[in-house]
Symmetry: C2
Subunit: 196 residues, 2 copies
């Protein structure tokens, strides 16, 4: 009987380890830093939750988007997305990735309009209470030469990011007005800023 | 000791159930049918893997896309995406969702270009060896009146789908030429059709 109990206990330990691994994977989309605040490139961001796309959007004061033929795709880490869908707010560790892609037209069966082609630029924004401002902005640079790790933006460029993401964003520091599925949730949860 | 064993056995059963639930969730993105071939609307498709977006794309012979100001977003179920990234091919049960959204411009900080707004139309394509052709096409209809369950398209409309998805697609019946992250994989794995 004692041997049976031990065998069962072993099974319990193995199964419990499996469960713990599962929970860890679920929170595996948290930002990974080096030297405290330098963000490792979230290489799997294309499997994160897609929030919206724009074509030719120009943000005054924001870097990299001044090409009228570029698509911008926005992704957020899935566990933060799930939290937002419940609450209308972003938890600590939320990471947005803004990806710019070139576009093309008149290829294959497409007769008009534009579709996405090669990667151009990747940027990120992270909510983390350890930052003085609560949010940090990162530039991973241009495709073909993307940084593995980026330091938080600083100085005048990031002041422009902060100003724009403070004055014009619908929820916290994020442009939820451009993410239609989130906009509905924020409206319902009452987390939109006045004026939206 | 017998009581302790029973308690441990109970824990084993609870943990095992947890593990089974986890495996089921991982394959939980398989198509769900009613009456054998009618597809239940995959309500969580917005958390699936995003493949690409277009603006104003017009596909000859494909329904619903004739509005030059509409965005088209394409999503695929995550487990099939993971399989494609390994092999360059689609497993049975692969489900594509094609979502059309209205667009807007000149709002908030956006000075040019267009961003996505409300949902317009949802369509799906499923690979399943039980279908005579190996693939089925579904129309879930217009936003505000989306079907919970759709029958596979039939007759002349689906013949146009099949024709176009046979003659012009880069990998199997899918327009991988418009999904840049997949196009690279298909090229590497050698699964592109001749001419791509």
């Amino acid at each position: 009987m004692r041997r049976a109990t031990l065998a069962v206990m072993t099974i319990v330990v193995v199964l419990a380890a499996g469960v713990v691994m599962t929970s860890r994977a679920q929170s595996g989309d948290a930002p990974r830093y080096e030297n405290g605040t330098d963000l490792r490139f979230p290489a799997d961001y294309r499997t994160w939750t897609f929030l919206g796309a724009g074509l030719g959007m120009t943000y005054e004061g924001e870097g990299g988007a001044g090409n009228s033929q570029m698509f911008s795709n926005v992704f957020v880490n899935p566990s933060s997305h799930a939290h937002f869908m419940e609450t209308g707010a972003w938890p600590d560790g939320t990471t947005f990735v803004l990806e710019f892609r070139q576009s093309d037209s008149d290829a294959s069966i497409n007769r008009a309009g534009r579709f996405q082609t090669e990667l151009a630029i990747v940027e990120a924004e992270v909510k983390d209470s350890r930052f003085e401002d609560g949010w940090a902005f990162y530039q991973f640079g241009r495709a073909g030469n993307l940084r593995d790790v980026a330091a938080p933006m600083s100085g005048e460029p990031v002041q422009r990011c902060i100003q724009c993401h403070t004055d014009h964003t619908a929820v916290e520091r994020t442009f939820v007005q451009f993410y239609p599925t989130l906009l509905e949730v924020a409206r319902e949860k009452g987390t939109l800023k006045p004026g939206f």
